[in-house]
Subunit: 352 residues, 2 copies
DNA sequence: TACCTTTACGGGCACGTGCCCGTAATCCAT
DNA sequence: ATGGATTACGGGCACGTGCCCGTAAAGGTA
């Protein structure tokens, strides 16, 4: 029944320090206008109380809205892979909106390096407080990162990392290990005398991802004394005709290929070829939960898909920015996603 | 430079309806004291504006703290499986705390039905606003659910479902499909003439989970014309000696067992037996990312573990309660978790 | 001393909602 | 008609923080 006279937060700090809340506020946001002496006193009290600001009240009182930008490849005819991260970003946006955070999404063309650079410029001009990027092109990203560092704008990478650029956080796969897992699945029931085919289909020359994955793939063969011969092919066109032509040639040269591994989401093109040429006995493994791939999973042409939760990548990437800018909490710098194995039997529950 | 005179939220509604904010508030929380006429008018305006209450302001203004309860099995010597959902619950708690939500965790002994009932009673006496339960025992849960329904307290189930009890939400695996996936992995490189062994190790007689999983397992064999003979064994003691004794017998009777499937996280006990009796050529698949199991995954005794993201289950379960009680948003009733496949090669990135 | 600038700080409103308390208006029974 | 109960509604403070504005005190210059 007694009146609780305890104050919380800023008011309590102010009471203990014999100052007004405004002064405490100045110290909290290290603004000028406080003498060193009172500043020290207030800081001591803050530390002693282990004061945690009330984010609700803070966001409510502050009319300034925090705006975040995200730069992703556009969904293309070839693949709707990037719909998933976008979806995760939207999910994050919905959560953050009520706390006064706005999100703007920028898209670029994966086959056009210039569009990437151009969008980055737009973003830098937009005065955003935090930025999420899928760093598809290394040099352009490097310039961008330098500029962000100068302006003290935090940025996170998703899907592929450029380790020396000191992003606030990386959220995506450990590509090398991912290739390693692919090799395990591929060889799990592979006969000893069969050959293995690695296929990379990509217009870009910037193939850091591919190299990492292949490296991991081969590492598995080494680590496990797997004796199968490995054949590799690079295909620089992504249309079906080109792919089919190259593959016809490879299969002609190598009669005893027992399994194929495609290093990205274009595995459905290979699946299509295998089906059309009546080679579905060849085990096939590739990447990403996109609808074309799932179709071939369903019809047993693709054996396994490896996925890295692209939806979650988008979500977590945005949340990392939120954590630093709004909650002011630390985030982990490396955030490797699980290497998920998707089959005909479990895909319906997969939450990409 | 002009003064923006737009009002937001409740004030704007009040202005348009020519009433005070207090009256609008009464309608929003459907409290008494508003005539039908003004109520209708206000509701119309709310709908027209598509008014979304500001949760920040709401939680800030309302001094009442929302308290949630969670009931889980205690971590036992046999398995630390339940540490994961608990961890997810803690994660959710950390997020919700700043919004005035408190979480209290209750634990029971999986081998003691009474402790389950007792804790449920405590929870009901605690006056919680929402409850998360791992419904291990059907009858006790049924009573509890009835009482909750009477008191209009929302409750969610995780890990296993009792479909007819109308929980707010179920978050956990589709057990039948999970068994189906187990069968796929088990047979993926199984020779045709080998036998398959299903092992259930559990003290409880309440084995709804087990039946569902086995049903799915067998369904795979049917659907795919898999001809292998299936042997099944129920072991009602969980200690190593008992398990070893039973297994010795089974393996004695069936010389040509090529693969074994354990329906729960006690697969490490079987792994131990296989290792000790030099039968590591037998493929072994079981459930859950617990450290004993991971150890045998590492040493190639267990081939695959199937997991259902127990951490996420705890997190999402609590968030479902938060969504209804705080945000007042609808939640999906069935929330089947992905059926994850964990191997020696990808476990280090698994985020249970 | 008179006046101006800078420093250091307090007062107090605003954010959008919850909810207590007060009161005019209406209804009902005597 | 009088009094009491009920209904329908408004006023206004509070939540914890951000930040504008005002001002006393200190310092500087002539």
């Amino acid at each position: 029944m007694e009146k609780e006279n305890e104050l919380f937060g800023v008011k309590e700090i102010a009471r203990r320090a014999n100052v007004s809340t405004a002064t405490v506020d100045r110290v909290l946001h290290n603004r000028t206008g406080v003498s060193e002496k009172t500043k020290a006193k207030i800081n001591a009290i803050i530390k002693e109380m282990d004061y945690q600001p009330n984010i609700l009240a803070s966001r409510l009182a502050s009319r300034k809205i925090i705006s975040l930008a995200a730069l992703l490849p556009d969904v293309s005819e070839e693949t709707d892979f990037w719909a998933a991260p976008l979806n995760g970003i939207r999910r994050a946006e919905a959560e953050m909106r009520q706390y006064g955070v706005q999100v703007q999404v920028f898209l670029f063309d994966l086959n056009d390096k210039d569009s990437f650079a151009e969008q980055l410029k737009h973003i830098l001009d937009g005065g955003f407080h935090g930025i999420l990027v899928s760093p598809s092109f290394i040099e352009e990203t490097r310039k961008f990162a330098t500029e962000c560092a100068r302006r003290k704008i935090p940025y996170v990478f998703i899907d592929s990392d450029i380790p020396d650029l000191h992003s606030l956080s990386y959220i995506g796969p450990h590509l090398r290990k991912s290739g390693y897992v692919g090799a395990k699945l591929l060889t799990y029931r592979l006969e000893a005398e069969k050959k293995v085919l690695i296929i990379n289909i990509s217009k870009e020359i910037d193939n850091y991802n591919y190299l990492e994955i292949e490296d991991g793939f081969r590492a598995y063969f080494n680590d496990n004394n797997q004796q199968n011969e490995i054949v590799r092919i690079d295909i620089r066109e992504t249309d079906y005709q080109s792919v089919a032509r190259h593959l016809t040639y490879v299969f002609h040269l190598n009669k005893d290929i027992g399994a194929a591994f495609v290093t990205n989401s274009r595995v459905h093109t290979v699946a299509s070829f295998l089906k059309n040429s009546h080679r579905t006995h060849v085990s096939l493994i590739g990447y990403d939960f996109v609808k074309e791939n799932v179709g071939y999973l369903e019809s047993n042409v693709i054996d396994f898909l490896i996925c890295h939760r692209p939806d979650d990548q988008g979500y977590r990437g945005m949340m990392a920015l939120y954590q630093t800018l709004v909650v002011n909490a630390p985030v982990t710098k490396q955030n490797y996603m699980p290497i998920d194995i998707v089959t005909k039997e479990n895909y319906e529950f997969y939450q990409n």
